[in-house]
């Protein structure tokens, strides 16, 4: 079993696979719009100079998420 963690804890530079969306309502819709479904590969790119938000590569686009939102996405590390 690979280790699961909320996305905001994923270290910049590492890849992960989406396991579960904990967000509800509008935020969930927005995440789905961005293509965040189960098994989508997400790469954590870098944190903003002030520590938050973090930029992720999702399906070819670079999207910045605040830690509040990213923490609602459960991912597992990809080797």
């Amino acid at each position: 079993m690979a280790q699961t963690l909320p996305l905001h804890l994923l270290k910049p530079g590492s890849l992960a696979r989406v396991k579960e969306l904990k967000a509800k309502g509008n935020l969930r819709k927005r995440m789905l719009d961005l293509g965040l479904i189960k098994n989508t590969i997400v790469e954590s790119l870098r944190r903003s100079p002030s520590g938050d938000p973090t930029a992720y590569q999702i399906r070819g686009a670079v999207i910045a998420l605040r830690s509040e939102e990213a923490s609602k996405i459960i991912v597992e590390l990809v080797k």
Partner: protein, 712 residues
């Protein structure tokens, strides 16, 4: 407040439909697509219009319309705001959804970004489920090629069942093919059979059960399968739109409601689960199609972009680079504006002599001569010679940053501060728009979904100096902090302007925080920010666009306002009440308050008369000073500085004036825009009050402290 997000959406849509004013012959086509796919560029290319474009999501907040002719048919193009899906998440996205559903366009052109096709196909698929009359425009095809992405357009068209055209709208590549495809669909020459997704068994079963009760209700105006899907997801926003546009209230259909409850129980589904399943099915389908039509030779987020982002958003350099960028722009502006300013001033001076001769030759009475030459002409000459050079340098540079795609990086760097101020992340973007024009910034706040955060963004937008105020800041700063400039001194002037900008950002954050703790309490809502790929800017177009769209626009507005204002000042200076002029009386009336905050009566009066356009504050001030005493020759900045010093200016006066430029009431255009956007006098008044009080307070404290410490 009394305005819901929904009613706003309807209101904006009505605006679009009303403006359209087309005859029945005209063919209406809609441009839909994700944000930042080059829709506006395509729109400009098609319609020959110059709608402002920029490399950042959310540039088009209201829909623009244009016209083009193809094969002797007139097409009306509507450029919809960018949206990620037909599930609206903000007022502007609602406008896009409503237009696609209820605006009955003859053809919908879905613009997709070739560099990020997979994500973009999501919206395309959703639209294909709803309508047949679709053309897919794969834009930015050149950029995709550079990034090693190859797209088999013919295969994509086969899979989707609709025409697919590859374009590079920037250079006009593929536009004729696009127009042809639109024409064929519009004329019914080509029947498209769009690909419809087959969902998981339980969803399909649910659709089957729901469809009859929907069809009974709405007579097939809109695809009943599509409505069934939305009912399963619980898209109540769409249902109120139905009620509004079509007068069908689906929520009162008991049959439908009962069926929904039954199905959800039977299959153990909730709104969220349905939505997940639907999206999952769509995305899997897209993955399947993508794997057949797209080949990647490289990672789409190119190494170059990655390296640039590594630097401009790095922990160590991100914010310093941002500051240096801005400071460099100010420095270039200050350095570059001096000489053309002087040339223009002497040219106007030369012209004035000849105009005078002409007027005297025609025997114009002296009062009219005074109004025309000393009032109108001189104010105009000042507006042009003082304001034009900095604008002509500053705007292209700013547009360059905008086109490159740097603004979303600024938002990325600053977001944490906005979060801490309990404000919306996109406020960083609307703030950046404010640097261009506060009225535009206020309209831009439509991209913010939450009503509370949108109001905060609107109320604080005026803190950042707009195009009209930058030249005043730059002129004062070069006059008092860098005249007779060696390189070092103009750097000092740039630094001062830079500090002013930093202060304005701090004030924005500070007042956002205060508002979110008092009048507009709440926590920040969720947001996602896309960092688009960097785009190579077209230097020629930037020059033309920033010169014509911005410089000339701002300048012409200033001139419209300056001419009558100049006449008013001259009349005030030449109408006597008792032994003193009216100008003197008015400024003496304002003087006590003005002195308290480090200004004088004339300065405050110029600010008040400058309400219609901030650009004219400085020229008005020069006018009222010169109208007072003997007229002086104002050949250059030095002469202007001397005039100010003769009227009692010190570095403190300059500083207080600059601070007051940053912090005072918004111009009348911005106020009217705020009134229109909030539909509330109360919030408009507050938007007036907050920066004004802040300006008075800051100038008062600074002025009193400096005097108390005897620094002057």
């Amino acid at each position: 407040m009394g305005l819901t997000q929904q009613s706003m959406g309807f209101y904006f849509l009505k605006e679009i439909l009303k403006e359209k004013a087309v005859s029945s012959e005209d063919i209406i086509i809609a441009l839909a697509g994700n944000p930042n796919t080059g829709k506006s560029t395509l729109f400009n290319r098609l319609s020959g219009l110059n709608q402002h474009t920029g490399n950042w999501p959310g540039k088009t907040v209201s829909s623009a319309q244009g016209v083009f002719y193809h094969k002797e048919k007139k097409f009306v193009v509507v450029d919809l705001p960018g949206t990620y899906s037909l599930f609206p998440n903000s007022v502007e996205e609602e406008v896009a959804r409503d237009f696609i559903c209820f605006g009955s366009p003859k053809v919908i052109v879905v613009v997709v970004d070739a560099t990020c096709l997979e994500r973009n196909l999501n919206l395309a698929m959703q639209i294909l489920e709803l309508c047949n009359n679709v053309v897919i425009c794969v834009n930015l095809i050149d950029e995709a090629e550079r990034k090693g992405i190859k797209i088999d357009l013919a295969a994509l068209s086969r899979h989707l069942g609709v025409p697919v055209v590859g374009t590079n709208a920037r250079d006009g590549v593929g536009l004729d093919e696009l127009k042809d495809a639109v024409y064929q669909i519009a004329m019914g020459n080509m029947i498209s059979i769009p690909y419809k997704i087959t969902y998981d068994d339980e969803i399909e079963e649910a659709i089957r059960i729901l469809q009859p009760s929907i069809e009974k209700f709405i007579n097939c105006v809109i695809d009943s399968r599509w409505i069934a899907l939305r009912a399963l997801e619980g898209d109540y926003n769409l249902f109120s739109a139905f009620k509004y546009f079509l007068n069908y209230d689906l929520t009162i259909s008991e049959e439908l409601q009962q069926n929904l409850i039954k199905i959800k129980k039977q299959f153990n589904l909730s709104d969220d689960i349905c939505r997940d399943k639907i999206v999952e099915n769509i995305l899997k389908e897209i993955e399947k199609i993508s794997s057949k039509v797209i080949t990647y030779n490289l990672n789409p987020y190119s190494m170059l972009d990655r390296k640039i982002d590594d630097i401009v958003t790095s922990k160590l350099f991100g914010i310093p680079i941002m500051i240096i960028f801005l400071a460099f722009i100010f420095w270039l502006t200050i350095k570059g504006a001096n000489i053309p300013s002087e040339i223009l001033a002497s040219a106007f001076d030369y012209l004035e002599q000849h105009l005078s001769k002409l007027l005297i030759f025609f025997g114009v009475p002296s009062w009219l001569y005074g109004i025309l030459i000393h009032g109108v002409y001189r104010t105009l000459a000042w507006v042009v010679s003082v304001m034009l050079p900095p604008m002509a340098i500053f705007f292209p540079l700013f547009t360059l940053l905008e086109d490159l795609g740097y603004l979303p990086r600024i938002a990325f760097n600053l977001d944490n501060f906005f979060k801490k101020a309990n404000a919306h992340g996109k406020q960083a973007l609307t703030m950046c728009m404010g640097f261009g024009c506060n009225a535009a910034g206020v309209i831009g706040c439509r991209i913010i979904n939450s009503h509370r955060e949108r109001l905060i963004a609107i109320l604080t937008n005026n803190f950042v100096p707009c195009n009209g105020r930058f030249p005043t800041l730059i002129t004062l700063s070069s006059m008092f902090f860098a005249y007779n400039a060696g390189a070092l001194q103009s750097m000092a002037a740039a630094l001062i302007v830079m500090l002013g900008v930093l202060l304005s950002v701090c004030l924005t954050l500070f007042f956002s925080k205060i508002l979110s703790n008092t009048l507009l309490k709440g926590l920040p809502s969720s947001f996602t920010l896309e960092l688009p790929p960097y785009r190579k800017p077209l230097l020629g177009r930037i020059l033309v666009r920033s010169l014509f769209d911005r410089t000339l626009f701002v300048l012409s507005r200033a001139i419209y306002v300056a001419a009558p204002a100049g006449a008013v000042i001259w009349l005030m200076a030449n109408t006597y009440s008792g032994s003193k002029t009216v100008l003197h009386h008015v400024s003496m009336l304002l003087d006590p308050l003005a002195r308290l905050i480090g200004l004088d009566g004339f300065i405050l009066m110029s600010f008040i008369l400058g309400l219609p356009a901030n650009e004219i504050v400085l020229p008005l001030l020069v006018m009222s000073y010169t109208a007072q005493g003997a007229l002086v020759e104002l050949a250059d900045l030095n002469a202007m500085k001397q005039l100010f010093i003769d009227n009692g200016w010190t570095w403190l006066t300059a500083l207080c004036t600059m601070l007051f430029v940053l912090n005072h009431w918004p111009c009348s255009t911005t106020l009217l825009t705020i009134l229109k956007e909030t539909k509330s006098l109360k919030w408009t008044f507050l938007a007036f009050l907050i920066p004004t009080l802040s300006g008075i307070l800051i100038c008062f404290i600074l002025n009193q402290t400096v005097r108390f410490l005897c620094l002057i």
